[in-house]
Subunit: 217 residues, 2 copies
DNA sequence: ACGTCTGGATAGTGTCACTATCCAAGCATG
DNA sequence: CATGCTTGGATAGTGACACTATCCAGACGT
């Protein structure tokens, strides 16, 4: 298919597709002549993944390029590609009202380490990108007057475990390695709004349940 | 305290505080003279809440103003204020690669309705802000080649229920109504990165568990 | 052959959260 | 009272970033 058709099928304007080509988020099409190129289904899939990352995930273009490079890296095992790709997706930045003092960060680190131990998760995770993001966020929370310890974080970790089980179940439906890696990135990003929307609905439900005033919500 | 002290204590520059005052995110201080005003602890708390909303939640300034108006609305019951405030917080926008066709949206609505019924949650939630966000996201997911039915969403809803229980438990630690409403907004926003970071750690853990290759992650 | 479409290059737009600069009116000290 | 610093307020500017508008010359289709 040509650029115009790729645009029509994806709903992304030709100008934007050109922009992604320029930025290296989308591999160039097969050149037919000096002014002609052809795209295929892989471009369409990749384009959708790019949109998911940028629009839903809020991932900057430069970071998306890195994530996609990991997705494409043939030299890695499936697991490494999957991990590299997913961990390259940036986390939402925690509050920076005060940059979190060194003491707050140290305390947060201690609590997160305790949490990992309690969960039986490897302590190296503390230095992984999501682990660091967690420490930063917990430190920021403390700075905002909402201190958390391992005990308080535990229920959220249990909830996260359930979500992760669902994620992995879903991934197993995909057969090819290529699809699995792409799906892991796409679903990591795309299920975030799902989980957060459900959380708000569950908050309403739980609040109604506790106060016995279902009609208020 | 004066503006300079408010700035020092919050870590927010005076220029930014002036900007928030101008935008109506922060109520004006008590005027001491034509060129002097005094701020107190409520300003400091509010300022932290504003930062949490804008920096962590990514809430636009205009929306933050609405959320804060709901927080301040004395005419509402605690529950209404809480609900109004939290539901005014925008959801992450779902993919808009194709705006999701009408059929996709209708199908998504059906599945979400089935999910609500299955959970025993009120069907009116379907039209609440988070409910609509969920429908839009599910429709977008279908458009990206990841269809979901009520069955597939259920595990995420279970995870969300756990998170919501933890949220409500946490809220009960706050005594005054003012604090509870503020905390509900702050924690709704601030726990999002916590939950998402934990989810990624849990994904790694779960993947390692399933493949028996813990050293890969 | 001739109007349309193509891919490529370049520069511009819109949004949005700040931020730099001025200004005139206090306040604090000699 | 003078002088220099600070204060709150108003105005315009900045920087980041994801696009987007315009041009262009070379195919392609009829």
């Amino acid at each position: 298919m040509r650029l115009a058709e790729l645009s029509a099928r994806s709903g992304v304007s030709t100008a934007t597709i050109k922009f992604y080509l320029r930025e290296g988020l989308l591999p160039p099409g097969r050149r037919l002549s000096a002014t002609q190129a052809e795209y295929d289904g892989t471009h369409l899939r990749r384009l959708r993944l790019v949109r998911a990352l940028i629009q839903v995930g809020g991932v900057p273009v430069a970071t998306a390029r890195e994530v996609l490079a990991a997705v494409d890296d043939e030299g890695l095992t499936r697991h490494d590609r999957l991990g590299a790709a997913v961990w390259a997706i940036p986390q939402p930045a925690p509050a920076r009202t005060r940059e979190a003092t060194a003491e707050e960060t140290a305390a947060a680190r201690t609590q997160v380490a305790a949490l990992l131990q309690r969960l039986g998760w490897p302590s190296e995770d503390l230095d992984s990108p999501p682990g660091q993001a967690l420490v930063r966020t917990v430190a920021a929370l403390a700075g905002l007057g909402y201190p958390h310890d391992a005990e308080g974080l535990l229920p959220y970790a249990r909830a996260a475990e359930r979500a992760a089980e669902a994620d992995l179940d879903m991934l197993e439906h995909f057969t090819s390695e290529e699809e699995q890696v792409e799906a892991s990135v796409a679903l990591t990003v795309l299920h975030e709004p799902v989980l957060l929307a459900l959380r708000r609905l569950a908050q309403a439900q739980e609040s109604a349940r506790r106060t016995g005033r279902p009609e208020e919500w």
